[in-house]
Amino acid sequence: MQLLKKVSKSQRNFLMRLLIGGTTLIVSLGAYYSYQVVRNAMLESLKKNAFLEVQQGGDDIEHWLAALKVYVETLANTATVKSMNWAIAEPYLKTEVLRFNDVYALAIAQSDGWRNVIGGSPANISDRPYFQKALAGHTNVSDPLISRATKIPTIVIAAPIRQTFDTTSSPIGEIHTLVRLDRIAQVVNSIKYGDNSYAFAINSTGEAIAHPNPAMLLALRNSAPKMVESSDRNLAAIAQRMINRQQGIELLFLDGTWKYVAYLPLTEADWSVALVIPRENLESPLQALDLIAVAIAGLAAAMIAVLWQVQAIEQGQLKKSNELLEQRVSERTAKLSTTLDQLQQSQLRLIQSEKMSALGSLVAGVAHEINNPVNFIFGNITHAHEYTQDLLKLLQLYQKHSLNPHSEIREQAAAIDMEFLTEDLPKVFDSMRMGVDRIREIVLSLRNFSRLDQAEVKPVDIHEGINSTLLILQHRFKATAHTEVQSIKKYGDLPLVECYPGQLNQVFMNILSNALDALEDQSDAAIQITTQQSNADHVRICITDNGMGMSQEVQQRIFDPFFTTKPVGKGTGMGMSISYQIVVEKHQGLIWCDSTIGRGTTFWVEIPVKRDSETAR
C-alpha cells in the first residue's frame, strides 16, 4: 500500500513537471514562431523598402537616359542635322553642347562610317556597335567606351538620321552624343541606403559602368574588369544574375561582412543597377524587436525558474510533513509496543507473584501444620527422657537389692544387653531432640521465607531473609557428593529495613540460585554474601560467586524479560527481570552486576532503609 502510494506520488510529481515543461515548450515554440513571423514580415517590408530605393535610382537613370535619347532623336530631326553638312551643323551643335548639361560633345556620321565630331578630327566609326545599331534604325545607348576624339571614358547615345519623318525609311546617317561615364557614376552614386552603402551599375557584359571603387572602372584601363569573373564568388553570382536581367534583393557575404544587395535591370539600356547595403542598415529596425524577444525570453525563463522553485519548495514541505507524520506514527507505535511490553510483564509478574503467594501460603500452611505435631514431640521428648532415666534408675536399684533374680530376668537382661541399652538410651534421646530441633528450624525458615503474614512493608532483618533463603537452597549447596559449595557470610551491622520481605527474599533466591547454576560441577566453589550499610539511608547486599561468569552481551541483557541462557524448560527468563522490578520499582533501590568470564560474577543490591511514604504502595 505504501509502495503504491510512493509510486503514484513520484508519478504525480513527474506528471506535474511534464505538464510545466510541456506547456513551457509549447508556449516558447509559439512565441518563437510568432516572433519569426513578425520578424520576417518586418524584414520583408524593409527589404522591399531597400529595393524601392534601388528602383528609384534605376528610375532616375532610366529617365535620364530616356531624356538623352529623346534629345538625340530631336537633334536628328532638325533640318541642320538632316543636311548632313558638318560646316552648317557644327556651330549649331556646339551651342547644343553648351546648352545641354550632360553632353560634352556631339558627332554626325555618314552612312559609310566617317564622322565629324566637335573638338576632334574626322574618323571612321563603322566598327562601333552603336553606329551599326543606329544605321539599323535603333536609337541606342552604348556600353562604356573610350572616346577616340577625347580619350575620355564615355557612353554614347546614338540615333539614326533619316531624310524624311518616315521611321521605316533607311537612315542616311547617324548622330550621337558623348556623355562622360562619370555622369552616370554621379547618378548611381547618389543611390544610398544609410552609411557605408553604395550602388554600382554593370553593362550587359558584366563590366562596371559605375562603381565607388575607381579600380573597377574603365577610366584606368582599356577594358574594365568583369564582375562576373570576380574572385568573390558571391559577387560573381550576383553579377551573373544582373547580366541575366533578373531583379531581387539578397543577403550575401561580401568583403568580409554580410550585406544586402538589391539589383534591378534597366530598360533604356542593357544595364543593371545594384545597391549594396550593410546588413545592419537594413535590419537596424529589427534590433528593437530582437531586444524585446530576448527580454521576453529572459522573463519567461525567470518565470519558469521561479515556478520550478516554488514547486520544489512545495514538494520539499510535503516530504517534510510526511516524514514528520511517519516519525509520529513510529513514535506512537513504539510507545504502544512499550506499553504492551509493560502490560505483558506486569501480567507475568502477577502470575509469578500469584504463583509465589500460592506456594507461600502452601508452605506456610504446611509449616504451621507440621509445627504443632513437632511441638508435641519436642515438648514430650524431655519428659520421655526423664521418665526413661527414672525407670533406668529404678532398674539399677532392683539389680542392687535383689541378689538372685529369677533366671528368666537374667536371661532377658542378657538378651536385651541391658548395659548397652542403659548406656545408649540417653544418646537416642539426644539424637531425637536434635532431629526435632532441625524440623522446627526448617519449619521456621519456611514461614520466614513465605511470610504470608508479612505481605506489607515491615521493618525486617535482612540477614534473617538471607539465612532462610540459604536454608531453602541448602540442598543445592550439597547437591553432589564430591563438590560442596561453600557459603561465606560476611554480615555487617544492619538496621531493620522497611521492605516487602517476601519479595526481597525472592530476589535473593533468584540471585543465589543463578550463582549455584554458575557453580555447577566446580571444585572450590564458593558464594560470599556481604552486607553493609553503605550510607545512612541505604543498605547494600553483595553476592559474589567464583563461577564461570557472563559475557558482555549477556550482562547487557540480563535484566531483559524472557532473556535466558538456560536450556529450554529450565528457566523462564523472568527471574532477573522480576528481581530488577522488585528492587528498582518496588523498593526504589538499585541492582547491578559485574562479571568476568572464568572469574565469577558479583551482584549488588542496594535498597533504602526507610521508604518514602509517597512512593509506598
Binding site: 566637335i118 573638338g119 544610398k192
Partner: protein
Amino acid sequence: MRKSLTIGAPSRESFRFAKAMSIYRRFFLQAGASLLLTSLVHGCTNPSQSRSSLSVSNDLLNQIKKRGYLVVATEDDYPPFEFLVNGKPTGFDHELLDRLRKVVPFEIRQEILPWQGILPGVAEGKYDVALTAVGITDERAKLLDFTGPIAESTIAYIKRKDDTSIKTLSDLSGKVLGIQQGGVSFAAIPDLEAKLKQQGGAIGQVKQYRGFAEAYQDLLNGRLDAVLHNIVSLSVLVNEKPAIFELGKRVSRKSYAGWAVKKGNQALLDLLNHFLTSLREQGELKPLQEKWLKISFENLPTQPLLPGERPIQ
C-alpha cells in the same frame, strides 16, 4: 541614418520616408504593446557618434552639448562645392562634411539654403559654420573668421578650344573679354590690365553679363574671345565641355575660399582647421579636389589669406 532629412523643402525623398515609416508603424501596431518598449529601446540603442579622433576643446564641447548639436549651413546650388542630385545633397563640401561627422563626438545638423541667407545667418549666430566655399575678402573678414582655404578662388579665363590665337596671358591683349556684372571677375580686370601693361599690351573690350551662361554662349559664337571666372568653376566647365572650351591661365592675384564662422568663435575655428589640416596631411584633400573641382591646388596656405595673399589683420 536619416537625420539628413531634416533639411530642405519636402522632397520626393521625405515622402518616401514617410511611407516607409507608415509601414514600420503598421508592424509595430501588429506587435501590439511592444510599441512603447520598442520605441524606448530604439531610442536607447541609437548611439550618438562616438568615433572621435579629433580633439575638441571642452568649452566648445560643453557649448555644443548644451544645445545638443552643431548647425552648419550649405548652399543648395553651387556646383561643384554643394548641389543636389535627385534631391540628395552632394559635392565637395558635402563629402568633407561627411568626413567631419565621422570624427566629431557630437551631432551635426545641416541646413541647406540659398547663398544669400548663409553669411548673414552665420554672422547672426543662427548657424555655426558656413560650410561652403566662401571667398575670403577684406569686407567679409570684418564680420567672419575663416578657416584655412579649401580651394583657390583666383580668377582665370577660358577660350574656345579651336581658337589658336590665344596661347599665353599676353595674347589676351586687345581681345574681347566677358565678365559677370559686379562679380569678383569684374574686380580682376585691374589686375589683368596691370599685367598686360607690364608686357606691353593693353586690355581690350570688356563685356559685362548678368550670368555666365550668356557669356559662354557668346564665347562659343565668337562674340567674345575669353570669359573670366574663378578657376574652379572654369575647370569644372572645361571638364564637362572639353570639346568646345579650353582653360587658360590665372589673370588675377591669388585669392582663396574657406569655411566661415562667426567672428571670435576661435574654438570652433581651431576644430575645423585641425580637421582640414589632418585631411591634407593624410593626402585626402587632393583626391577630393580632383574628384569634384577637377583641379587640385598644390600649395594652399594653411592660414586664410586675403586676395593678393595678404594675411588677415
